[in-house]
């Protein structure tokens, strides 16, 4: 608990025993948390720790399953985002919510345009907007079209928008993620000014360094629980990381150590996804499961998609079994035995409104056809064999994939790549949203594939999973690979430290980007 330092601090928000469940996940577990009026309160935690769920409860997107929230000492249960705004709580999300073809002023007052005789009173609109823009230090004319603004300016505009409704609480979700150092400095000044005016700020960030600079108190969340709340001046990065990681996890991943990695099956050299700042290199051997750790947005998915040819890349060589191959599209990748199990299996991995058979054989229709004609009997036989092998639970091959559970859908995605006889399987978050039983079956499959000499790359945001399943882990941080750890060197602290490395040195990294090496 967080004992009040003196008599009764003035709490603007109080969470009392908040629990929130999503299917298969306990997102928040009896969280108690106080936010003091006029402070900058920072929320930190690993992916899935519960930060964004907490924000969603505050801004009326979900109701809590248990517990109450007090706002100004009164029970607060917003039924919609609008209700939250009326109560004085505004969020500035990472993704902006602006109308690009309208003016700055129109965006600020979008919901309440000043009107005279039913016509927008442009003079008043611009005058009101100018006052707000001055307050957040956004130095553009109110009539400027939003599409012409830079990212930092859009961020300030979002804040101005939030202030236009006289917000008491402003929630900033990763506000510095896309800003340059001078812009960050400016943002911090504005935060200080807002604080002086009595606005309470809830600040969420992955960049641990800056939270000490901007925050008054820091709350660490882990696995849906509040671990601790510290005064910023009493905390440092190592102590926060320790709290985020917690104690060591159990051995729920019986690692199959008997597999000895063999020949190099894939080597990637200097791969630079389009729009990325850093090139990355790594290699995988036959029989090896290579883990890719990192924060959400650290560039893992982008790198994997660029490797697979799904997105364009600026540079990079791909060597398969010692031979350089040219990959400019997924077609090239698949022909060279590389496959990608995408992060979003529903939108990109499967054809939901088709049955199991065509989904499995889609990757290699040549094998089940002759002269362009499908051989349906052969096709069914092949699909049935894989469905049986992977133990996909479906009443029949003719079942629409839409009607299968998440775990079985994921197995079907694996089946389609096994059908292609891919040699390198890149799996992006294959166990996300899947229940524990099916998860374990998927690990077993990955181990079996590795034992059969495939090379496997496993991208996951679940650290215990990576540490339990992989032979080796490379860590991504802000688009770079910052560590390459063999199994003997696995530790949550080391991996997290590497994952945060480039964010802690955010200033330097940004400077590097301005003058590339």
């Amino acid at each position: 608990m967080d004992p009040p330092a003196h008599g009764a601090p003035d709490h603007i928000i109080e969470f009392r025993g908040i629990t929130k469940r999503f299917p298969g996940v306990l997102a928040l577990d009896r969280v108690d948390l106080d936010v003091r009026r006029g402070e900058v309160h920072v929320l930190v935690g690993q992916n899935g720790a519960g930060k964004s769920t907490l924000v969603k409860l505050l801004c009326g997107l979900h109701p809590p399953d248990e517990g109450t929230i007090l706002l100004d000492g009164r029970p607060y249960a917003p039924r919609s985002a609008l209700a939250a705004i009326r109560a004085g709580i505004r969020v500035v999300y990472q993704e902006f919510n602006l109308l690009p073809f309208l003016s700055v002023a129109e965006n600020v007052f979008f919901q309440r345009l000043p009107r005279r005789l039913g016509v927008v009173d442009v003079r008043k609109l611009h005058a009101d907007a100018e006052a707000l823009l001055a307050e957040v230090g956004l130095d553009v004319a109110p009539g400027t079209r939003v599409e012409t603004l830079g990212v930092a300016q859009m961020q300030l505009l979002e804040i101005a928008k939030a202030l236009s409704t006289r917000s008491k609480v402003l929630i900033l979700d990763e506000p510095t993620a896309t800003l340059s150092p001078p812009e960050i400095r400016r943002l911090f000044e504005i935060i200080a000014r807002l604080k002086a005016r009595g606005v309470t700020i809830l600040y969420i960030s992955h960049r641990l360094q800056e939270v000490f600079e901007v925050g008054d108190r820091i709350t660490v969340l882990r696995n849906g629980r509040r671990v601790d709340t510290l005064a910023a001046r009493d905390a440092d990065v190592p102590s926060i990381v320790r709290l985020m990681v917690g104690r060591a996890m159990g051995s729920e991943y019986p690692f199959h150590a008997q597999v000895i990695p063999g020949e190099e099956v894939l080597r990637v050299e200097g791969l630079l996804p389009q729009g990325a700042r850093h090139a990355i290199s790594f290699s995988v051997r036959r029989g090896e499961i290579l883990g890719m750790a990192g924060l959400v947005g650290s560039g893992r998915t982008e790198a994997m998609r660029a490797l697979f040819g799904a997105d364009p890349r600026a540079a990079g060589r791909v060597v398969r079994d010692g031979r350089e191959v040219r990959i400019r599209s997924p077609r090239d990748a698949v022909r060279n035995g590389i496959c990608l199990l995408t992060e979003d299996r529903k939108a990109q991995g499967l054809i939901l409104d088709m049955s199991c058979t065509p989904n499995v054989t889609l990757t290699d229709l040549a094998r089940v056809s002759r002269a362009g004609l499908l051989r349906e009997a052969v096709e069914r036989q092949e699909a049935q064999a894989l469905v049986d092998e992977l133990d996909v639970k479906t009443p029949s091959l003719d079942q629409l994939v839409r009607n299968l559970s998440g775990g079985n859908q994921q197995k079907l995605v694996l089946a389609k790549w096994l059908f292609r006889r891919a040699e390198v399987l890149v799996c992006d978050e294959p166990t996300r949203g899947i229940d524990v039983g099916a998860r374990f079956e998927i690990y077993e499959l990955l181990w079996k594939l590795a034992a059969n000499g495939k090379g496997i790359v496993l991208v996951s945001s679940d650290l215990p999973e990576l540490m339990g399943v992989c032979h080796r882990i490379v860590v991504f941080s802000n688009g770079r690979i910052t560590a390459d750890l063999p199994r003997s060197a696995f530790s949550q602290e080391r991996i997290l430290e590497a994952a945060y490395q480039e964010y802690l040195q955010g200033r330097h990294a940004a400077a590097d980007a301005a003058a590339p090496p």
Partner: protein
């Protein structure tokens, strides 16, 4: 439960056919001449052209696209075919062959253009084919000097009115096109990919295919069907004219949609399209025999298109409820049992 499920399955598969039968019975009852041999032959001839165009349109709509240019391309293809067939100094056989190839090729090239442009620059086919609608019409008027071409060889003209076992040959051609289209959609790799792309193009791409190739091929096939329809049109009316085919795109789209193909792609069938074209033909003919005027008939046809799609929505929903609801439950039970 089982009985209702079977009933719904039947309705889903045979719904349009059932509607066609009911409609035909009703017309037979109220319009005495409807069921006469002469009238039925007449209907078959009338629906042939639209059927062939609709087969091509089905490929395109299954991909989630649309082809608005079919009517204009038909006119252009008749002009190219008409100019070739009436060239002096050619034997009738050579002129006819040249003309058929010319019309078909014209259609294919227009379709190829539609496909290539919309894929290369990722422009919605609505816009590209709207452009082609004007390009082809303009080209037809230009190269024909806006004149109608006629005086084709007799052998060519005779096919248009010939019958085989009292079925119009022109209808048999359309039927053959439907069957080939059905075969391609149901049995070939190309057909499989058309459905797959219409459902989820990105998943197809990420499975190692190049969807653009198949899409361009589908637009080209649609153009080819229009070229074929142009040949049939010339056989039937014995003229080639730059002003024919106006509004044909709407009849083809209507047939495809009444036939149960989803405008967003991925779902539909050739047989459905054929039945859709038949419904439109029967309706038009039957209402005419009942003495309904042109304007009123147009209104009724329009209404039927909308009603058909509404019914299809309900049918799909009912089908999903009755036929699919128990299945996930079975799946869940299987999973429980497996734990």
């Amino acid at each position: 439960m089982r009985a209702t499920r079977i009933l719904y399955l039947l309705l889903r598969e045979a719904g349009i056919g059932l509607a066609l039968v009911i409609m035909a019975l009703a017309f037979s009852a109220f319009a005495p001449r409807f069921a006469s041999m002469a009238n039925l032959t007449n209907i078959l001839t009338q629906i042939s052209i639209n059927t062939v165009i609709s087969v091509g349109m089905t490929f395109v709509i299954l991909l989630g696209g649309i082809d608005l240019s079919v009517g204009s391309v038909l006119a252009l293809a008749t002009i190219v075919g008409g100019l070739l067939i009436t060239r002096e100094g050619l034997s009738p056989g050579a002129a006819i062959s040249l003309s058929v190839v010319g019309s078909a090729l014209t259609g294919c090239l227009c379709g190829l253009f539609n496909g290539l442009v919309s894929e290369r620059w990722k422009i919605h086919s609505f816009v590209v084919t709207l452009g082609m609608l004007n390009i082809a019409r303009g080209a037809a008027l230009q190269i024909s000097n806006s004149r109608t071409i006629f005086e084709f060889p007799d052998a060519f003209n005779e096919v248009g009115s010939a019958t085989f076992l009292s079925v119009p040959v022109i209808f048999l051609m359309a039927l053959a096109v439907v069957l080939v289209g059905r075969f391609v959609l149901a049995r070939t790799v190309f057909g499989r990919l058309i459905y797959a792309i219409g459902n989820n193009e990105e998943a197809v791409r990420l499975s190692g295919h190049a969807p653009s190739r198949y899409k361009v091929a589908a637009y080209t096939a649609c153009g080819g069907m229009v070229g074929l329809a142009a040949v049939m049109y010339m056989m039937r009316l014995n003229i080639a004219s730059p002003i024919l085919g106006v509004g044909f795109e709407l009849n083809a789209i209507a047939a495809v949609v009444i036939g149960g193909t989803s405008m967003s792609g991925g779902k539909g069938s050739m047989v459905g399209t054929f039945l859709g074209a038949s419904i439109m033909g029967v309706l038009n003919n039957g209402l005419l025999l009942l003495g309904m005027g042109d304007f009123a008939r147009q209104m009724v046809t329009g209404l039927i298109i909308v009603v058909a799609v509404i019914i299809d929505k309900y049918r799909a929903r009912a089908f999903a409820r009755i036929a699919l609801a128990p299945v996930p439950a079975q799946g869940a039970r299987a999973e429980e049992a497996a734990r």
